[in-house]
């Protein structure tokens, strides 16, 4: 007797009773059920998280509505709250971080995967994994004690000489730029690790075909191997972005913690995770703590949207072919 589970894969345990029981006895169905429950549990926890955030921010949502997203005021005494400065800070610091980390990370990954001898590659990979495991508070301390003075004394004055508007204003050492730099240091290991793995997994015949056609080592790497690994590399970039968006302690120690929107990267600012970490425990008053929870919801939404875009980008580029017909 044919069982419907074999003809409709993924339909779950909706089968003829006799074959279901026999499958159960064989253990396949049990394994399927259990692993399905584990997977479903993950989705369930995420939904529960969103539900809790939604429910506990009800007062703030009712009072401010959608205007919360573009209000610039954050005044606990007057009970006026707006998310824009924090969204701005989160996006700016993450952008600066990616700006620095992506070229450095992909360049390092290419070196480790393609151009370095195996022993060098493995040793460096060990150190890079170590870097990825360092707790973020340590990065914050490193930033505060080492990077901030460096920025204030040397790097910011030097950048100021370029007269660009994004490098204007007093050089405190703290601010969007420093936070971006610290975040870049934190996310580079992720980009390097994942990109290196992806580059190493590009089949040898791709490289050999390019070399056989007369390309130089660099040309075969840059024009054949890297485009082939494009989706994996983009995945690593979005992983890095996800980490940068949510980073709390390292950012709050170097960003200056000032509620302001300024075009200059030298100015101090704030990010969503930093303000929640700073103000939540002391937030007396229902509206205040619910406004902070609503900020958490906004961050979740931001991450969700960016990850969704990442998925779409990956699907779009992989549909165009994985670089094999690349001209």
């Amino acid at each position: 007797m044919a069982s419907s589970s074999t003809t409709v894969p993924g339909a779950g345990p909706i089968v003829g009773s006799r074959s279901f029981l026999s499958k159960l006895r064989e253990g396949d169905e049990i394994a399927r059920l259990i692993t399905f429950i584990f997977a479903a549990a993950v989705v369930l926890v995420t939904l529960l998280l969103v539900y809790e955030l939604w429910r506990d921010s009800v007062l703030a949502r009712q009072k401010f509505g959608l205007a919360f997203l573009w209000t610039r005021v954050w005044d606990p005494l007057a009970d006026q709250y707006g998310a824009l400065p924090f969204i701005y800070g989160t996006v700016v610091t993450s952008t600066v971080a990616l700006f620095i980390a992506v070229p450095l990370g992909i360049g390092a990954a290419i070196f480790l995967a393609e151009l370095a001898p195996a022993r060098v590659s493995d040793t460096l990979e060990f150190f890079i994994d170590l870097l990825a495991a360092v707790p973020s508070v340590i990065y914050g301390l490193l930033g505060f004690l080492a990077v901030v003075p460096l920025m204030r004394e040397y790097i910011q004055p030097a950048l100021k000489k370029t007269m660009l508007p994004i490098f204007s204003g007093p050089a405190y050492g703290l601010g969007f730029l420093t936070a971006g730099v610290i975040l870049a240091i934190m996310v580079i290991p992720f980009i390097i690790s994942v990109s290196r793995e992806v580059l190493l997994s590009v089949p040898r015949d791709q490289r050999e075909a390019a070399l056989a056609l007369g390309s130089t080592r660099w040309e075969s790497t840059w024009k054949v191997v890297v485009p082939f690994a494009r989706t994996g590399i983009m995945g690593s970039i979005f992983l890095a972005l996800a980490r940068a968006l949510g980073e709390t302690m390292a950012v709050t120690m170097v960003v200056g913690n000032v509620v302001a929107i300024t075009p200059s990267l030298f100015s101090p600012g704030y990010s969503i995770a930093a303000v929640i970490a700073n103000e939540f425990t002391e937030a007396t008053g229902q509206l205040y703590s619910q406004a902070l929870i609503e900020l958490g919801l906004v961050l979740f939404l931001l991450t969700f949207i960016l990850n969704g875009l990442a998925r779409l980008l990956i699907i779009a580029t992989s549909q165009r072919g994985s670089g094999m017909g690349h001209a």
Binding site: A78, V258, E279, T284
Partner: protein, 342 residues
Amino acid sequence: MKKIAGLLVAALALATVAWSQGALLINGAGASFPYPIYSKWFDEYRKAHGNAEINYQSVGSGAGIKQVTDGTVDFGASDGPMNDEQIKAYTDKHGYGILHFPTVLGAAVPTYNVPGASAALNFTPEALAGIFLGKITKWNDPAIAGANKGVNLPANDIVVVHRSDGSGTTYIWTDYLSKVSDEWKNKVGKGTSINWPVGLGGKGSEGVTGLIKQTPNSIGYVELIYAAQNSVPYGAVKNAAGTFVKADLASVSAAAAGAAKSMPDDFRVSITNAPGKTAYPISSFTWLLIPAKISDAGKRNAIKDFLKWSLADGQNYAEALSYAKLPKEVVAKEAKALGSIQ
């Protein structure tokens, strides 16, 4: 082998349960400013009086008020008294009131990092308000230079530093500024977390002190104890009587002594800008928040007994840890108020 291991685990579990049930456990949470003295007190009290174990989490004044209102802890602690709204919220939720008991005194001091300044600086109330409002922007501004004749003040921009997290120290500082500056009172106000007109935010006293040490031409505020322990230079402030006073145990106690005579019955008083020639103007009590009604008799007696101890023996530990003792009049009034805990 497995059986023996199992029996051992069971025995250990039982022993832990039995041991923990012997001691009476009281939980409190709140201000981080008095944490050193409270933890010393709880320790000494347990040594002297055996079976009550008091556990205190220094999570911040705001969290302390929140948790005692929610009922998750038996008592709270705060550097700023609960305002009328918060007391109403408590009474509405529980049906009885909450009492404030001052325990020790503390102060907020202006700390700064001015390279080249040849001496300790004096600050007038107008200078402090102007700096924190963002209206006084240079160190050699006449408002500051006028109080510091002969001191070499640079023509650099002032970098203001404040607390980024909600804090009782911020409450004391902004309470003082609201009293000495109408503009501050109308434009900004007082609270544990406010909308600062200018300045960088540091997380915790450590954050503010770290920022000031690192950033030249900066000014901020921290607790007196913190400044003393971290050797950060701090300035003198002009008090209501016109004298420049540097914060220390004597001047902080003097501020409280002035307020003791007009102490309200609920002990919720602000002693910033207190009268008196030697009083330090940015001083404050710190309070324990005790529910007016404690249904568990064991806990009630333990808490009352602890409070009585803290008003007597406990005060002797304060000065060694750089907290100022309560004036005698306040102690006497509190001892009487203990009776109202039911």
